[in-house]
Symmetry: C2
Subunit: 418 residues, 2 copies
Amino acid sequence: VGTAGDHPEFPVQNLPFGIFVPQNDGATPRAGVAIGDFILDLRETAASGLLNTAPLAQAALAAPQLNGLLALPPTDRQALRRAVSRMLSDEGMATVLRPLLHPSATCTMHLPVAIGDYTDFYAGIHHATAVGKLFRPDAPLLPNYKHVPIGYHGRASSVRVSGGSVRRPHGQIKVLGADEPVFQPTERLDYELELGIWVGEGSSAGSPIPIGVAERHIAGFCLLNDWSARDIQAWEYQPLGPFLAKSFHTTISPWIVTAEALAPFRLPQPARPAADPTPLGYLRDDADQARGALDIRLTIALRTARMREAGLPAFTLCKGTTQDLYWTPAQLLTHHASNGCDMRPGDLFGTGTISGPDDTAPGSLLEATQSGRQPLHLPNGESRTFLEDGDQVLFSATAVREGYASIGFGPCSGEITP
Amino acid sequence: VGTAGDHPEFPVQNLPFGIFVPQNDGATPRAGVAIGDFILDLRETAASGLLNTAPLAQAALAAPQLNGLLALPPTDRQALRRAVSRMLSDEGMATVLRPLLHPSATCTMHLPVAIGDYTDFYAGIHHATAVGKLFRPDAPLLPNYKHVPIGYHGRASSVRVSGGSVRRPHGQIKVLGADEPVFQPTERLDYELELGIWVGEGSSAGSPIPIGVAERHIAGFCLLNDWSARDIQAWEYQPLGPFLAKSFHTTISPWIVTAEALAPFRLPQPARPAADPTPLGYLRDDADQARGALDIRLTIALRTARMREAGLPAFTLCKGTTQDLYWTPAQLLTHHASNGCDMRPGDLFGTGTISGPDDTAPGSLLEATQSGRQPLHLPNGESRTFLEDGDQVLFSATAVREGYASIGFGPCSGEITP
């Protein structure tokens, strides 16, 4: 194992945290870190006293969820990261570590934390523009969009880890031209490509988080698929926003890719067009703008039941980038806490769907098919307007930069079932 | 203490469950039941083996939160209720119980459960109509209103128990006619009178809850104040609904008033006007309609700083009733789970603001003052459009029926601070 030098996702420079269960009889969920094609059992590593250079983190690793680890100041998480990195890079430790390493393929991943609250933002400006265009061709973005990071509260209970099936939800649907709604399975099931943001250290009720210190409250990132039932959404969302069209299932990738691991993969927030308003003072911070944007490559692939039967690989539908977010993670967090709303370690944000400009990289089928009007043609002769039963949707993410080892996020996938 | 025969809120017929801390040095949060002006320490009662006719509930009472109790089938909760009732009615138990009873006035109440998810509905049809009228005088209710129970996901972290202060939130506000928004304290701070619904037994992901069995998943009720910042809401809510205008604070009354205690205070759901649509099949159940509606009297009172200084009592602003809800609790729950969204014990619903017809009992200042256009005149000469610092808002609720002991909910109050 060692440093897993050339692993495409999990070299020693990544070291994402998660909760897993090894295949062993009767094993219980525990903390782990991905290294190459293995998972290092952090609970047992900590129990063996091997992480005592990071004492607070070592104590937090006894829990079956990572909320305690996320609650620690970043320095404690960094100490753990250094200790694990040192251990894995030390050939003398190989014998000690061998029994603590499990092949990833034999392990089951769980949610990394008990999610307190899940919030979904709308920071992908090209997505907001493309969706707005479907309804208001002349004024796709609402007047508030460039001033206020738009978001809504999501459902925490239905956030689930990657893999397994996504059951097509029933709901009230009013077909165009019909007099009355009907209750039936959605016919417009969609995915939404998002980045997930894990809140680390929390905040107290009534205490905003100034933009200058917001980064220390962000522990890490994941991929997020905000599955959406467009026909349910169209009928229910006025006047209070999306509800059951979203809360049937939200999929996340299992690993918390830390802010530390992603530090090399940041770029200045892209300059706003001159005509755009300057953010209000509470959202403005030069340092945040200078290192604010993440530079992560995102991919959406689709594998239908027929592709699987024919042994065909998944077909790439979209290649996006987190550079297309209008607000930085720090701005989202600071805005969220600006009314005094308390944040808790393990709260999850979705960034909102990330699409490229001018339909170049649609983060949802709603955009890719112009709301179902232009079917998407797949190389095996099939076509799609929205998802069909048996379709597998696979998101992946990689951070790449000259001179640095690339790191990945692990899978964020689901298969549609009736 | 005994049965607290004529207590206006907590006679032996009520027996609501909560989490409290007695005044004793070093005491920790524990389960309790309100009886008259006392709280019976249920944790210690259970630890003494006095509740072994309700073994599962007895075990659940060791926890510092009531999620475990709510997770039990209703029969176990009912067994606990009977055991407590028997004990309190048994004069021979007086000596044993005396050390387990604490004067309520000396205790501190906590949230009764760890709230997994909080959902806010919009089932008060007169409120929806009155608010709609402010924007669309000719068509106040949107076309979906009478078909689909409208709701949105709320923020669980900022739900807090009655008492204490409600800090006036900052937020982005765009004053009418201004070119740009500003970030400042809300100038349109409001209350919303709602009933809270506590989910008992949960459901698994992908498994809807049929309307015929929905009642068994509802453990009890509380009062809920969905504090709202109208100016923040007006600017942020398009297109994804209310967000920071709500998530700064939600107040609930501390006691879970059980479905069993409220059973005598139910009436058939009021007949819908003939022109209204029949609910879709998944929301329709004759038994639910026959016993569906709660008959609870609700009161909103206001006490300003000047009233307190002058020794004046709170002034009653509104007397409402839960009869004004368009959907039954069972319909709200069944709808929420109809897409497969999993419910967890201790999930909380707000019903939506409960107002009377035709402005007779406005459940918010937005309605009472016609969005601030018609100030409310108080008997001491003050007036209000929205809440000012120092204002105390007090909700109360009583269930009254000929031949039954009346029961109450306890306070749901908060004082506005800068």
